[in-house]
């Protein structure tokens, strides 16, 4: 079974709300930066970056981070682990970072991202922004700071954030349909 749980109208409201929260804390982003996670956090990262510009005229420093080499399931999964491109063209030393990913589920990607960030230096702080916070299957003690929506789906469901032309719909797909 496949059903849409959020359409873009709702998502757009969430993005706007989260941008307000970000600016409330980080002001003009002078000493803050956004780091979107490859592969699926990129579109959300860009949407947040554009929204910050549109609403507050804030040019946030923006990077894209790939965590493949820091994952804990290398040689333990049958899925191919192909790395993605990274663009981290700024020093993160002493900066307040906001990691962006679309869906937070087990938390393992974020753990890998925290490790990957360390390779670039020591940030002043790291926060997490996620569009969907899935409950019930967190495997590491990680909690988001900015949340679009909580989703209480079955652990074997699949939550898909489907971006088309900078707009997205969010689906829940049950096991048989994946």
């Amino acid at each position: 079974m496949k059903r849409v749980i959020l359409d873009y109208k709702k998502v757009d409201l969430m993005l706007t709300r989260m941008c307000h929260e970000l600016v409330e804390k980080h002001n003009s982003f002078e000493n803050s930066a956004i780091i979107a996670l490859q592969p699926r956090g990129i579109l959300l990262g860009n949407a947040i970056k554009n929204k910050l510009k549109e609403l507050f005229n804030v040019d946030a420093t923006y990077g894209e981070l790939d965590t493949t080499f820091h994952r804990d399931d290398f040689r333990r999964t049958n899925k191919p682990l192909i790395p993605n491109a990274m663009t981290m063209n700024f020093p993160i030393e002493g900066k307040h970072l906001i990691i962006i990913d679309d869906v937070l589920f087990t938390g393992r990607s974020i753990r890998a991202a925290l490790d990957a960030i360390n390779d670039y230096g020591r940030p002043a702080s790291v926060e997490l922004l996620t569009l969907i916070n899935r409950k019930y299957k967190r495997e590491v003690p990680i909690h988001p700071d900015y949340i679009g929506e909580h989703v209480d789906s079955r652990t074997d469901d699949f939550v898909k954030v489907d971006w088309k032309e900078e707009q997205c719909k969010i689906w829940i797909i049950t096991e048989e349909e994946k």
Partner: protein, 310 residues
């Protein structure tokens, strides 16, 4: 995990052009890794790699060792000059003894062509060929092609010359296979005594004329004269060789275009190329060395990933 089509890297002949593309794409990521403040990732932290060198090596061995350490693998080094091989131990016994200590991958250089194929049939570990006699040197060919691709964007229909001691060179054979799989046109050039008979049967051109070859090509890979493998005299003297087949600034300046020059090292300065040429902006010799680490990281990463399939 079906990443590469093979569990071992024995030679370029056995891998597909898709494999080469995947290795290049992965190497792009590792090149980013080795150019940032902390040049290390924890990916292979549970993998042990043995570097088994039955022949001398500086560049390849250091490059492999750096690649392994930057992937956080545990590394053991073995060289035949200080081992039980001197006491008469066979290759398979030596390697099996190393594997009994729970080693996952073996990087080997051996003077006998085909030693790696033999080993791959008998032992259960990923094997990477770091050179087997005069047969293949796949990682060198991959880093050569990768470095060329950085300069020329795409190797399709590009003209690449391989110049010098083709007869004794494992780099030449691997380069020919690799460049052909990427769609390049290849020509070998050297004195008749150093070109193997029937080399054209590989689908390449052969020439004895250096100046005409340099005029034809977009890039030239200058191979080392391998005096240690030459039991007979193949040319009257090194001086005569360098007069006929050595590249000088004078030769380069007379060409109608700027070509790229490569050398797999170690260079006999003043023989294959002069110091001036080696250090000029047309030479990409040091790019080759830098890319060597990224390419080897990519190969070890992809092979280690593929072994989880079983």
């Amino acid at each position: 995990m079906s990443l590469l089509s093979t569990k071992h890297l024995l030679g370029i002949k056995d891998i597909s052009s898709q494999d080469i593309d995947l290795i290049f794409k992965t190497a792009d990521n590792f090149k980013q890794v080795i150019n940032r403040p902390i040049k290390k990732v924890p990916t292979l932290r549970d993998v042990t790699i043995a570097n088994v060198f039955f022949e001398n090596s500086t560049r390849t061995k250091i490059s492999f060792e750096l690649a392994e350490k930057r992937l956080s693998a545990d590394v053991v080094n073995f060289s035949s000059s200080s081992s039980s091989v001197k006491k008469g131990e066979t290759l398979i016994d030596t390697v099996n003894n190393i594997l009994a200590m729970k080693v996952d991958m073996v990087v080997m250089r051996h003077p006998a062509p085909g030693a790696h194929q033999f080993l791959a049939r008998h032992i259960d570990a990923n094997i990477v060929n770091a050179g087997d006699g005069t047969h293949e040197h796949p990682t060198q060919a991959l880093l050569d092609a990768y470095s060329l691709r950085e300069k020329l964007t795409n190797l399709k229909d590009k003209k690449i010359a391989i110049v010098g001691d083709i007869l004794h060179s494992r780099v030449a054979l691997s380069n020919i296979y690799c460049l052909q799989k990427l769609g390049a046109k290849v020509r070998v050039c050297g004195p008749p005594t150093l070109l193997p008979k029937h080399i054209e049967s590989l689908g390449i051109e052969a020439s004895y004329n250096l100046k005409e070859t340099l005029e034809w090509c977009d890039a030239a890979n200058m191979l080392r004269i391998q005096l240690e493998r030459q039991e007979d005299k193949y040319f009257p003297s090194l001086r005569e060789y360098s007069l006929q087949y050595g590249v000088t600034m004078d030769v380069l300046n007379k060409l109608s275009k700027k070509i790229i020059l490569m050398h797999p090292g170690p260079i006999n300065r003043g023989v294959e190329i002069t110091s001036e040429v080696a250090d000029s902006n047309q030479s990409i010799i040091l790019n080759q060395v830098e890319n060597g680490v990224a390419i080897r990281m990519a190969i070890l990463y992809l092979l280690a990933g593929s072994s989880s399939e079983e």
